[in-house]
Point group: D2
Chain length 489, copies 4
């Protein structure tokens, strides 16, 4: 699975689109510059647009731009427009064009009690239902994002103080959310009661930071303090930090797919180093699905750590047999029919000398629609591989995500309509092995999946959704998680 997809054939992307990243800091001059750096480190969680809201003691300033952080927020002129010692930011997947800016976060509103900004990673599964209720009460929505629903719930709250209003709002919503909010005096962080999406607390010379992943602390040399707990609301002021736990505590259900694919390998999330987990996944896979082979080759970059683990576990040489072109932009040539039939290799190329005449183990992180795997296998075969064995660093993905990941509808997922043997035939490999669900749990140092009370959200592998899906009605199998529901992350 690949994080940046060139759809040379105009097909739908054969990957899970990344989610969003959030970052905030309070108590540091040039707060927006620090947020810019933090968002740059979180760029893998959303490449299409970003925004920052800052407060300078007098007024809130908002900048929102389409494009990479490094192309938009690093201009002096942009940063000069968002002064202040506190700021929050958001980076997101999806939405292009001028009007698309409407959906770029953070959202900001001038409430009766003062300004409030909010940035969100996750997805509210009753947002549409709540939106309709709010519209009946007179709310006007200016975006199609579920995050705006939270803002209206805060605006309509009959509580007095912003913290109470914020808590009043989140207790009305369902789904997955890691939130960072900013009022004149406070920065608020919150995770949903299951803690599906990550959020951690950092410290930079006394200034508090909230960030989706620890790699966003590393880039600025900030100290990792701790994770925000599932269901916790932290309220940060100049005077310090206080915690609220407005929910009865269910068991945490962190998204296990963050370890497989989303999080950056150098991050530590929920106490585990992502790279280490991925290597252990490879080692588990070598145990579960061993194969006689000459070389282990990753599908770069996402399959690389598991391939290293597999190679070390199986004692087969690890080689860069596929070279990735990092210059692939958002879109690529809309080719003529003749070029379409050429089987253009925009993103990956086989390194023939490493492949020719060899028995190859290919390691990738997951299979979505299967079309990318098909092409990579064909490329490796054309480069002269004697045998091709595919090993996947996760169980088969067979259900849509409704918690902030833009997945195809269930029927488009290869694993939802084929057995493993059929899939092996479809992608034309000599053997195909997925990691077992228990193997995945072992890789995160659990003894295995506790089916009575699973330790993680693994709905994409099991269909076992840890929350109600109010907006879906009876429809969760066939609907791609779209429109309002998937427009933010």
């Amino acid at each position: 699975m690949n994080d940046q997809v060139a759809t040379a054939e105009g097909h739908e992307a054969d990957c899970f689109h990344d989610e969003c990243g959030v970052f905030g800091i309070l108590g540091r001059d040039d707060a927006a510059a620090v947020v810019t750096l933090g968002l740059h480190a979180l760029q893998h969680r959303g490449q299409e647009a970003a925004g920052i809201v800052a407060y300078d003691g007098t007024q809130f300033s908002v900048e929102r731009h389409i494009g990479l952080i490094g192309d938009t927020f690093t201009k002096r002129s942009v940063l000069d427009r968002i002064p202040g010692d506190r700021a929050i930011g958001h980076t997101r997947y999806s939405t292009a064009g001028g009007e698309g800016l409407r959906n770029v976060q953070p959202f900001f509103a001038e409430l009766a009690g003062g300004g409030f900004a909010i940035a969100h990673n996750g997805n509210i599964t009753n947002a549409l239902t709540k939106q309709r209720e709010l519209q009946k009460r007179g709310a006007i929505f200016s975006s199609t994002s579920d995050t705006e629903t939270i803002l209206h719930l805060i605006a309509f709250s009959e509580k007095q103080r912003i913290t109470e209003r914020f808590i009043d709002a989140i207790t009305q919503i369902e789904g997955a959310y890691s939130l960072v909010g900013l009022s004149q005096k406070k920065m608020i962080g919150a995770r949903d009661p299951l803690g599906i999406r990550p959020l951690c607390l950092g410290d930079l010379d006394g200034a508090y930071i909230l960030a989706s992943e620890s790699c966003a602390l590393d880039i600025i040399g900030a100290r990792f303090v701790r994770e925000i707990k599932p269901g916790e609301v932290v309220v940060i002021t100049e005077g310090g930090i206080e915690s609220h736990f407005p929910f009865e505590q269910p068991s945490p259900r962190f998204c296990i797919f963050e370890y497989v694919y989303f999080a950056r390998p150098d991050s530590i999330v929920e106490g585990r180093n992502v790279y280490e987990v991925r290597k252990r996944i490879g080692e588990e896979l070598a145990l579960e699905s061993p194969v006689e082979a000459d070389v282990v080759i990753p599908v770069p970059d996402s399959g690389t750590p598991a391939a290293i683990g597999f190679a070390q576990g199986a004692d087969i040489p690890f080689e860069l047999g596929i070279i990735r072109n990092h210059y692939v932009g958002r879109t690529f040539i809309q080719p003529t029919a003749s070029i379409r039939h050429m089987g253009v290799k925009l993103k990956h190329n086989a390194n023939r000398r490493m492949i020719e005449g060899k028995r190859v183990v290919l390691v990738d992180d997951s299979i979505v629609r299967g079309t990318t795997s098909q092409k990579i296998v064909q490329m490796v075969r054309e480069a002269g591989a004697r045998e091709v064995h595919m090993r996947i660093a996760s169980p088969p993905t067979m259900a849509s995500c409704f918690y902030g990941v833009d997945t195809p509808e269930k029927s488009k997922l290869l694993a939802s309509r084929m057995s493993i043997a059929e899939m092996a035939e479809f992608i034309r490999v000599d053997s195909l092995g997925f990691l077992s669900i228990d193997g995945l749990y072992r890789a995160v140092r659990e003894p295995g999946r506790n089916n009575d009370s699973p330790q993680f959200c693994d709905a994409c592998f099991t269909g076992d959704y840890p929350t109600v899906l109010t907006d879906q009605g009876d429809n969760k199998d066939n609907v791609r998680s779209l429109s309002l529901l998937a427009n933010n992350g």
Copy 2:
């Protein structure tokens, strides 16, 4: 050394800037679309601008744009403006802004006998001298590129036919060049007599292709035919291909640094797979500079193949202990003083769990100014490394390149002013090892350097320039290879 540098501190880039890539095809509808794909595969040879000239039987069309191929030439509207069954293209490092387009290749001129376009990888070492002569004869230059000098020499030639005029021109120039030219009837390819820069011939269903590297053939599924020979001029028409050898043949002197850094690992240049050479470099390095250590960590991405070779040679585990952020754009934040002092890690981050408490071998491809190495070593130390040993996959770079690589002036090269012991102290490592020049030759499967008649151009390591440097006069030590001389590649 790194190919895309974020100069957070406003310093000059601490790397060798990439050279240029050229690509041409004759005899294929949608020639420009094919060239676009070829240039995309050559993007690592120049990221700042690109151009394509096509001929459709009636007229030549020119498109030149600042930016990545995938962001500029993949628009239908752009490709529609360059129709025809023959086209040549160029991708280049350097030059931004509107007027900068003047220097973007290919260059095109309407000569007395018809139109002619030319694209160039390399550097003409007597271009300035020739330009002055030509100006005295009445030539008007519209760029600051040495490539235009070649075009004027063709225009002023008293020969009749374009092939003769082309040969007349190149026999007056010195230096390094791989050229692709296009007239109404002919596509011409040429390499300088020493064959310093690469150029190969491919075939796509009967259409001939000229390309800097074989990876540009792979992307479109074209067949690799052979390298163009040093000093060879190939003239391709619809009727076929013919070869000319206008030079007395000196011994070839291919740029050995192409193996170390420039070429893509999946390319085959001068008969050798680049990835294999780099792995052997790592193996040689492990033999020449062994060290007791717990982990081998590449400085990604350029140090990775050598690190794999080193790890396999030394039997030390290979780990991704440094994670690279691929979203770094051309420029990054011009930070405030306070942020500048934070030691921001825009491009690389240590993966602490792989480093903490360990004896680390870092493998990088080369050291230019040494400032990047300093920072990386510091980052690895801060991540808790017990010992840091740096191994460099090439000999010390101590002399400027005048053959198409934008290098700092000699005095800025760390190796030109420090011993290896001093360099080790400067970058603060426990030990520092460079590959020997003979080790490098062994990695390319030579028995060692033949000092009487070296098999490669290795001037950046030895100062032994294989051509006269007319424009330099007595000045070659102190002048950065700039202005006219380095403005193309």
Copy 3:
């Protein structure tokens, strides 16, 4: 007074900024293209940004752009994004930059009962007060425009049907407004009870049109039907048109300054041709302030019709003694000190041969700050005028407008702090004459001003505001009509 000002000196503009223009059509394919033409004819009412909302039976589409209509809405690609047989549009003065788009009208909201769009010419004088009330009830504002207040009042209305909700909203607001609204089934037009701003009804082959001025009907060959009456609400559907009169009828108070400056000379507003009124103003002025002179010269373009009237009335030759440069864009050179002292004539130049040695009558429409008049008089003197007599086609402007015109605060108005004799000295003329207020009323064919019940809004000349100014509190003398209050038009 001039409608497009180049502030070479960085001073504040010395003119009244134009208001806004609105246009809507229901029942015509390509409705958005027709609206584009209508807005082009209304461009003099606002040059900085424009928007169109269309409905195609299925969904509403919105396009809003900074710039002239002719530069933004005439692209096929833009028009293709706003299909449908009904559309409303708005052109406005002020607001630049990306975020500025937030304030560009029409505004659109998805209400509980369906979508609704609204475009507004005028200014709500209790908008800020209403906004605070609405925020306390939970409303989130996404712009700083008073027009959004109306939309929230509609959203919060407890009435059922859109017409009732619309009327419920406008009966809560004070000030000046000509509104055009669009729901799925209805186009609604409304004027405030005093009818301060214009709005007329047209017919194009059976499709109804609402437009600020009749010139917007002429451009497309539509038939002028009638003015919308003060306090009237018209509801247009495919089935026809119906009228509502929700207000007790006060006497109409149309803005008399529309005749002096805002409206286009070829428009007919409130039954009078604007050009004819302006000529009669010149004739009245010739009677009230006669002068012995050789030539009558307009300050182009706004002073031209009155100058023609003056010349004919006084039987003095009319000549173009000042030439206007129409290529002056929004901003012009931020000059160096040395250029600033040159007295650059960006917009007007004296036509010396028409001036030299002559006794000149200059005719301009009004005096705001007086700085422009100063410069023009100086220019005319330097061109050799023997005498300069200034005649102004309106009474002295001595009070701010709170009804949709961006005027300076009262203290900046020259006439609010100087007698006519002082003003004459300030702008250095041999004589200065303003039209009397009764003369102005005579020019519009009234016998004179009825001071007990004035026939027009003439607050800018008299300070006699026809509505309460809730948001101003006690402050109406010193506050420039800014922020929320002046951000739309």
Copy 4:
């Protein structure tokens, strides 16, 4: 005839495209800022692109932009890139898009003796012939402009000093040219031997200025010194000015159409005020073609001065019966068929109250294809005119211009294929009158045309071309003055 045409119907423009304007200054800090202002005053001579070359004692800087001066050259960042105390500029009609910049002047070349820049108003009638000769000698052209030909002739000259080389070049060219050149030490001005295009000399506090029209001196308060004489070459240095007369002096033949249409009314060219000439044209027309009528109405803006003259001469009231919309941009709506049939009035609207029931005299400057006149007459008739009499302020235009004006080919000129009676019928007027050629000469204060030795170039009216037309061969009747020949102005 109108200077800025909106081609709503996609037809070719029905007007003569404006020529170019040139401006230069030597000896004034911020020279480029002064040139910017001068070009702004000359904007009517070319609206599509502009360029400035400056020299600061060390190097030449070039800025060239598509768009109005006021939109492009007034940015501080642009001006900061062209420092120096001497600069020349050019504004031009035609050519859009990125590659179009190639043709934007001034052109600059680094010659053997130093840099040289040149800006040109006019057209070289043997440019193509010379270009072919030069290409055979080895010249490479980087534009399609005839001006570059002059630069190559200078480059190839065997003379030593720049003044000699410049004179050597212009003695080889034919046609119309007013040139401004800039070397390191000198600013050179030149007019062709017939002085077809204007060029005058000004003085600003001791700094010399060259400008196409005197209005460009007025804008900055510079003093008009004199016209450059036909065939004169002036060489301006810090030390002063010297004159050369390299041509045997034929009789001057200034373009009489400059008075009719091109020049700005406030300019003085060849000793005559343009506005005065136009008024006298109207007076002559009233004498030559009298008519009983109620009102004289100009087709604005170009017909206005002649209409004033006509009205005063005929003692009929002058009224603004047609209102012009000055907001028409370069292109306007590409309308659907249904809108095309509406007869949209983008640029002109009838002011019905001034027309209804009246006998109208319309005054326009010229008739090109006649389609614009047709539409205006129809509009005036629809507004209720009882009679429409058209009076044209010049003789019938029946031949193409080869001296810098982009005219349609001869066969498209209405007067070349119809009698006046037929033309009257074609545009549907009750009467049609053109000024006689002698009447035109009288308006410029000549006793009449001296047919043996005409005092002006009046080829567009008479077909009497004052120079050979080498590039035209036998073709001058049928070829539109296009390609190389018309690409500059």
